[in-house]
């Protein structure tokens, strides 16, 4: 194995570990932390299924952001949906045989890389041009967009401009997933692919320690996930129960 391959083996094992353990710990924290009062932003659903629907609209359509500002919604929604589509398409690099739906959408979904990049550029422009957004921007907010842009652009280039040995890449990840180091092929050395994989590893590592926590966070947001039924049901947390004695 080449040095580069060994480095990527290490990177992706470490990155996966950090991503999975880090996210699991964070989700556990959110789960365990009590929400001692009913604070849904009203009008709110009065049933659990109503809450599921509200959450669905929030996560799939970005309902609240749509109410707020159409430009941010447009760029943000396009970026996220394109990202999910592209990620879905990426399953083909990890499956053998490739799942039929993935194979089916593959030829079409690869163009969504452009939508993803356009969305990110829009968000970046807004961050630099709107004085209010510029004021609340920290260096990490810019870097996060640049990181995602880097991933999107290098990925698109390997698909549309400078083809990489994608068979070797897939074989590498298949071996990685099955802990089979004996016949593991070397990772292609073309710079685009190297940078693409490197940035993805970095993204996985920073996920659980950055604002990307908004992904699990939204599901735990009391103002969105609570049922509006405080007159019917008491909602006493464990720590508040102690006050009653």
């Amino acid at each position: 194995m080449s040095f580069l391959t060994i480095a990527f083996v290490a990177l992706f094992y470490i990155a996966t570990l950090i991503l999975v353990v880090g996210l699991a710990r964070r989700i556990r924290l959110y789960w365990k932390t009590p929400a001692p009062l009913k604070i849904p932003t009203t009008p709110a659903p009065t049933t659990q299924s109503g809450v599921a629907l509200r959450m669905f609209r929030e996560v799939v359509f970005f309902e609240s952001l749509f109410k707020s500002t159409k430009w941010t919604w447009l760029f943000g929604w396009v970026f996220h949906m394109a990202l999910f589509a592209v990620l879905f398409r990426h399953l083909r690099y990890f499956q053998e045989p490739v799942w039929a739906p993935v194979a089916f959408v593959s030829p079409l979904f690869k163009y969504l890389a452009f939508a993803m990049v356009i969305g990110l550029l829009g968000l970046l422009a807004r961050r630099m041009l709107v004085d209010r957004v510029r004021y609340i921007t920290a260096p990490s907010d810019i870097l996060m967009l640049l990181l995602l842009l880097g991933i999107g652009v290098t990925g698109a280039l390997t698909t549309f401009v400078a083809h990489t040995d994608v068979v070797a890449v897939k074989s590498f990840f298949r071996h990685l997933m099955t802990f089979n180091f004996e016949t593991m092929p070397n990772v292609p050395t073309d710079p685009l692919m190297v940078v693409h994989l490197l940035l993805v590893g970095v993204l996985m590592i920073i996920f659980p320690i950055s604002k990307l926590l908004h992904a699990p966070g939204v599901f735990f947001s009391p103002s969105r996930n609570q049922v509006d039924n405080p007159r019917e049901q008491r909602h006493v947390s464990d720590w508040a129960k102690k006050l009653e004695n």
């Binding site: 609240s64 941010t72 004085d131 947001s221 009391p222 103002s223 405080p230 720590w239």
Partner: protein
């Protein structure tokens, strides 16, 4: 127009999003609570050496107690969706009054002491050490948030700045840096029973006076009872209803509705206050202690139902928290929700047809309605989501012929705060209150010009007091603001009431 030591904003047809003016409101600081008022609430008397560590410890404590705080501090992506949604930003142009920037005052400290990135790469993620300057910023800007939750409507993760500002205030209270206005008032509730410090005998006098007034006006003996054991309904209402204008006209209205509905009711000298400033300071313990008075009063008086008068944040605490804080209310009549809003009661009676209404008695008015933030975004009325918007309007339309809503982006869940909520209704924050009212004033000005609106109705004691004070700064009459039950009171014809002609004559006699 009232005199101002600051520039009153010019009203505009639409509320425009201003350019940033850094530090525009840095000078706004409400008075700090004296040690005796702090201690009455079980808080530290004043700031002492080592407060930095205390802040971090208390922040850690609250992070473990409130999922909202933990999730909201982690989840913000700085998308900017909330930046133009706060009335205080729109009115003052100070960027620290943008909801996300206000949250960031706390978040940058959270990141520095509680997150990996902030501990090792503080500059990268905008984390900072806790210093006296940071604490002073907290005190100033977390007392420039009325906890109205408008930002939370627009946030893609539902981040509610109110939760952050409540946590910040609780931390400051615990280390001995509380706000005079809120904490003195809570102390009065514990000592005397209500925010205004009105003792029982004063309340009795006032209520007797109301009975006389209503009798003189209508010839009907409408009772305004207090501490009457065995009454069916306990009415809990903000103490401003006992004497302030236009609040008291609302109280007169509740009494008339109860009278016509034929139910027995009573006020309580123990729970002579609906307001619960414990919410404003984010203190679960104090909020609970204030709520328990209502439970105790209901038990002592042996009532079957609890009804709340017109008050915004009080209704949020009552609707959303009372059952949790002071329940279970299994000793009350299970046929009725606990608690009920007076508008739910009145609308129910209107549907039953027990009230005799002559809408034309309000024909001299063209009404609009101000949705109070805590009612709009923190509670409900009736059985359907959004009942908090329809029921008040239904009641107004049932007693007035002329009603017009303000612009859609300024009502319902998108309503603008009056500018005085959340523990800011104090003279030492007058500049903030006037400027923060601008978005609502813009919308009001619009319906005045386009539809000839003469008056605005509200169902919140703070809104009513705030508008009474602030309207003159914008060249409008302080008496434009009315109670919804004042309108009901105007239009209701009591059983056995002397006729209009007689009434006119007696009015002339009196004049």
């Amino acid at each position: 127009m009232a005199k101002a030591e600051f520039e009153v904003p010019e009203l505009t047809e639409y509320t425009e999003v201003p350019k940033l003016e850094v530090g525009a409101m840095a000078h706004a600081k409400s008075f700090v609570a004296a040690p005796e008022f702090q201690q009455a609430l079980n808080f530290k008397g004043e700031l002492q050496d080592g407060w930095e560590q205390e802040v971090i410890d208390h922040m850690g404590d609250l992070l473990g107690k409130y999922r909202s705080l933990q999730v909201y501090l982690d989840s913000c992506v700085k998308c900017g969706a909330c930046t133009d949604k706060c009335h205080y930003y729109l009115g003052t142009k100070d960027p620290k009054n943008m909801p996300v920037a206000r949250q960031d005052l706390l978040r940058k400290v959270y990141r520095r002491y509680f997150t990996f990135a902030g501990k090792y790469f503080p500059k990268l993620v905008g984390a900072t050490d806790l210093t006296r300057e940071v604490l002073d910023d907290w005190y100033s800007y977390f007392h420039q948030c009325s906890q109205c939750r408008r930002c939370s409507v627009f946030c893609p993760y539902g981040i509610d700045t109110a939760e952050i500002s409540m946590a910040a205030r609780e931390i400051m209270d615990r280390i001995g840096l509380g706000q005079k206005y809120c904490n003195e008032i809570i102390g009065k509730v514990f000592r005397i029973g209500n925010n205004l410090g009105l003792p029982g005998p004063a309340l009795e006098d006032t209520l007797e006076g109301l009975e006389e007034d209503v009798f003189d006006e209508t010839g009907v003996e409408v009772k305004y009872p207090i501490d009457q054991k065995g009454a069916e309904i306990l009415l809990v209402t903000p103490s401003a209803d006992f004497f302030a204008e236009p609040h008291v006209d609302g109280l007169i209205g509740y009494g008339k509705v109860f009278h016509e509905a034929g139910v027995s009711w009573t006020l309580s000298s123990k729970a002579s206050e609906a307001a619960n400033f414990g919410m404003f300071i984010g203190s679960y313990e104090n909020m609970r202690r204030i709520s328990m008075r209502i439970r105790e009063a209901a038990l002592e008086l042996g009532v079957k139902r609890i009804v709340f008068g017109e008050c915004g944040h009080a209704w949020r605490v009552a609707y959303s928290f009372l059952n949790t804080l002071a329940g279970p209310f299994d000793f009350l009549d299970p046929k009725y929700p606990v608690p009920q809003h007076i508008l739910e009661f009145t609308w129910g009676e209107m549907q039953k047809g027990t009230l005799n209404i002559d809408k034309s008695l309000n024909d001299d008015l063209v009404l609009t309605y101000h949705d109070s933030c805590n009612v709009a975004r923190g509670s409900r009325m009736g059985t359907e989501p959004g009942g908090q918007f329809t029921i008040p309007r239904n009641v107004i339309k049932a007693v007035c012929n002329n009603f017009v809503d303000m612009a859609p982006e300024t009502i319902h869940e998108k309503t603008f705060c009056c500018g005085g909520g959340g523990g800011l209704l104090t003279d030492d924050l007058m500049e903030l209150r006037v400027k923060g009212a601008k978005p609502r004033m813009d919308a009001l000005q619009n319906v005045i010009e386009e539809h000839g609106v003469t008056n605005m109705a509200a169902i919140c004691a703070i809104c009513k007091a705030q508008f009474t004070k602030v309207l003159p700064y914008y060249g409008m009459g302080m008496d434009m603001i009315m109670s919804v039950h004042q309108l009901v009171s105007n239009a209701i014809i009591l059983t056995g009431q002397v006729t209009e002609d007689d009434d006119d004559e007696s009015a002339e006699d009196a004049a």
